[in-house]
């Protein structure tokens, strides 16, 4: 059975739009902000590595009730990336993984989705708004264009995120020589995979928004606004009723923290869910784009 999309055309669109994205304002802004935020985050985490520390998890050794321990507890309870992680996962991140990397991991899981929204709002909307799509459509189908643009954004994110994670890992290895090499490399791979899998559905989410709205500014504000509204509303209402937590699953807010659990099954489950989100968003977006006036 023939695929409903022409793979060759999709890849041509991906390759071309990647060139466009690298030079585009959203691409450059994403690159600068991502480099700044994530490299800063990495640098802070590297600074936390105690000189000459021989233990993989120095924070685990904090004396109970000491000032730093109390601060950590406070952070753990009130800051979203930490408060969303269960005590079981905390123990794993503190004691079985280098805790400095865990801090980086959790903050990155919290911050990176915003940056992904920054990157991907223009993917379809730019072509629709400038009507450049009219040059392309007689030469290939809407499905190929839609999928090709999604893949180019994903490719761009993969390259940037991969390069930055590799740089930060190198920093951990150089500064924290006492940290076990295998653990650091494995955990870095886990961090990269988790960030990547968390980003995929959000790129699809913005593709969906763009297909519905058709204008870059509208897509940006609606996409980011929706993401924040769900996050804030979910946080506020779930204090009153547990059922409100279902809001966190409209977008992959809660699921991404599953990547921090000490269980391969849970990691894979989260990965599958992320792909489901991706497929759902792409399908809804396609519903908008396939018969819209361009």
């Amino acid at each position: 059975m023939a695929l409903p999309v022409n793979i060759q055309d999709t890849l041509i669109v991906t390759r071309f739009d990647y060139r466009n994205l690298v030079r585009s304002a959203p691409g450059v802004i994403f690159l600068v902000v991502y480099l700044f935020v994530v490299v800063q985050l990495g640098a802070i985490s590297i600074d936390l590595i105690p000189v000459g520390a021989s233990e993989p998890s120095p924070m685990c050794k904090l004396p109970t009730g000491s000032a730093p321990d109390r601060i950590k507890d406070k952070i753990q309870r009130s800051i979203p990336p930490f408060s969303n992680v269960s005590p079981q996962a905390w123990r794993y991140l503190e004691c079985e993984r280098p805790v400095v990397m865990s801090v980086f991991f959790l903050i990155a899981l919290f911050v990176v989705p915003f940056l992904v929204l920054l990157l991907s709002f223009n993917q379809v909307a730019g072509y629709l708004h400038r009507r450049s799509i009219r040059y392309i459509l007689p030469k290939t189908g809407r499905a190929e264009l839609y999928l090709g643009l999604f893949l180019s954004n994903l490719k761009f994110f993969t390259v940037v995120s991969g390069a930055v994670t590799a740089a930060v890992t190198l920093g951990w290895l150089i500064v924290g020589r006492s940290l076990p090499l295998g653990t650091v490399l494995l955990f870095s791979a886990q961090i990269f995979a988790a960030l990547w899998l968390s980003a995929v559905p959000l790129i699809a989410f913005m593709a969906m928004m763009a297909a519905a709205v058709g204008k870059p500014t509208g897509t940006f504000f609606l996409g980011v606004g929706f993401y924040l509204a769900v996050d804030i509303a979910g946080g506020l209402i779930s204090r009153q009723t547990e059922y409100a937590k279902v809001l966190f699953y409209v977008i992959p807010l809660e699921v991404k923290y599953w990547f921090a659990y000490p269980s391969l099954g849970r990691f894979l489950g989260a990965a599958v869910l992320m792909l489901c989100y991706t497929v759902a968003y792409l399908a809804i977006g396609w519903g908008f784009l396939r018969r819209r006036n361009v």
Binding site: R19, L137, P138
Partner: protein, 397 residues
């Protein structure tokens, strides 16, 4: 002897040029075949390239296209004309598959315009208001389009270069869209429409905003496709349409109000327009022409000296009538300006759309022009009430 030799040399030079052109064409065809691009069939006589039936399109509650039919035969060069807001660009956009019609049906080469898999490379479009992709050079964009049409690697690069040369942008291949003037951007848009060898080409205002040289270049390209490809051109430049098209469709208020070949459209065999210079001819001159065989009536507009001779179906060939009139003009000691067979497309446009043009005060051709009461040649032709011979200012209300 010297002249014969020169002529022979000239013929030889022309033959060599043609041979060179044929070689280049063959080389291009071979390249395309190598790159996996299918050669396009020549137009089939009697087959439709575009078949539009009861086409409707609305923006919200505003109905733009009101259920028109349009059939464009393969090999036809159709001029699509109409006033602003008549629905030209909307029609193009629906035919190209950019807009979803609210009713009716569109078939391009027997397929829905949404059937990209089958129409890919066979239908190409110059959209009116689309912008080029901002962050990739124009050559890179054309290579991308060529790749989508099946050209691979080097062949795509060469095709991009070829179409840029075709529209006179060979020296600007490295430019980005942001560095192009309006005219250059338009020419780049045209270049993408000529990639490959499309069977149906839709060009929405291809020469708008171009300098006269570039506009002529584009007109020549379109003219060279006449009979070989189906081309639909929308333009406000009616003289241009009359020059390059074989057929015309006039759209007004969302309806096609007239469609036909350009000779019928402009009544080429039914009307002559002759400009007489050097003075106003006497009444007997017009009477003499009107009583000669095959002439229905004569109208005269003294402001620019245009005389319109409407012919009967049984009139002798137009060339003979022209010869007769020219002889009479010289007999009365006047001279000739221009001679036109048929009315201009512009006049037809004004008449059918009911808009003022030359027919506005002092003009000719539109309602209320020299054929109306108070004008020259009103009811009863020249000499009618207030007809030929009335004071200046009689060129229509």
């Amino acid at each position: 002897m010297t002249d014969d030799l020169k002529q022979a040399e000239e013929e030889l030079r022309r033959a060599e040029e043609k041979l060179q052109e044929a070689r280049e064409k063959a080389a291009r065809a071979a390249e395309k075949a190598k790159a996996g691009v299918k050669p396009r069939p020549r137009p089939k006589k009697g087959k439709l390239a575009i078949d539009v039936q009861k086409l409707r399109f609305s923006y919200g509650s505003i109905e733009i296209l009101k259920g028109f039919d349009l059939k464009v035969s393969q090999g036809e060069t159709l001029g699509f004309v109409g006033p602003n807001g008549a629905g030209k660009t909307t029609s193009f956009s629906v035919i190209a598959g950019f807009l979803v019609p609210s009713g009716g049906e569109v078939r391009v080469l027997g397929r829905s315009p949404w059937d990209t898999e089958h129409l890919k490379g066979r239908l190409s479009v110059l959209p009116q208001d689309a912008q080029l992709i901002a962050n990739v050079g124009i050559h890179g964009q054309l290579v991308f389009f060529a790749e989508l049409l099946g050209f691979s690697g080097k062949a795509a690069e060469e095709e991009a270069t070829r179409v840029l040369e075709m529209v006179g942008l060979a020296e600007h291949v490295k430019k980005f869209p942001g560095h192009l003037s309006h005219g250059m951007a338009k020419r780049t848009g045209l270049a993408q429409a000529f990639i490959g060898d499309p069977e149906v080409v839709l060009l929405d205002e291809p020469t708008a905003g171009l300098d006269p040289f570039a506009a002529k270049q584009i007109r020549d390209i379109i003219a060279s496709m006449r009979g070989e490809r189906t081309v639909v051109v929308s333009s406000h430049n009616l003289a241009e349409i009359q020059d390059i098209c074989t057929d015309v469709a006039l759209i007004h208020q969302g309806q096609i109000i007239k469609h036909g070949d350009i000779d019928t459209f402009t009544e080429k065999d039914n009307q002559l327009r002759i400009q007489i210079r050097g003075g106003v001819p006497p009444v007997t001159f017009f009477q003499g022409i009107e009583t000669s065989g095959g002439v229905r009536n004569v109208e005269y507009e003294p402001h620019m000296g245009w005389m319109t001779v409407n012919l009967l179906p049984e009139a002798p060939p137009a060339d003979e009538v022209i010869k007769m009139i020219v002889g009479r003009v010289f007999e009365i000691g006047l001279s000739l300006g221009e001679i036109q067979r048929g009315t201009s497309l512009e006049d037809v446009f004004f008449q059918l759309t009911g808009q003022g043009g030359h027919g506005a005060p002092g003009g000719h051709g539109a309602p209320g022009s020299y054929g109306t009461p108070g004008g020259y040649g009103g009811p009863g032709g020249y000499g009618g009430p207030g007809g030929y011979g009335t004071p200046p200012g009689s060129a229509g209300p």
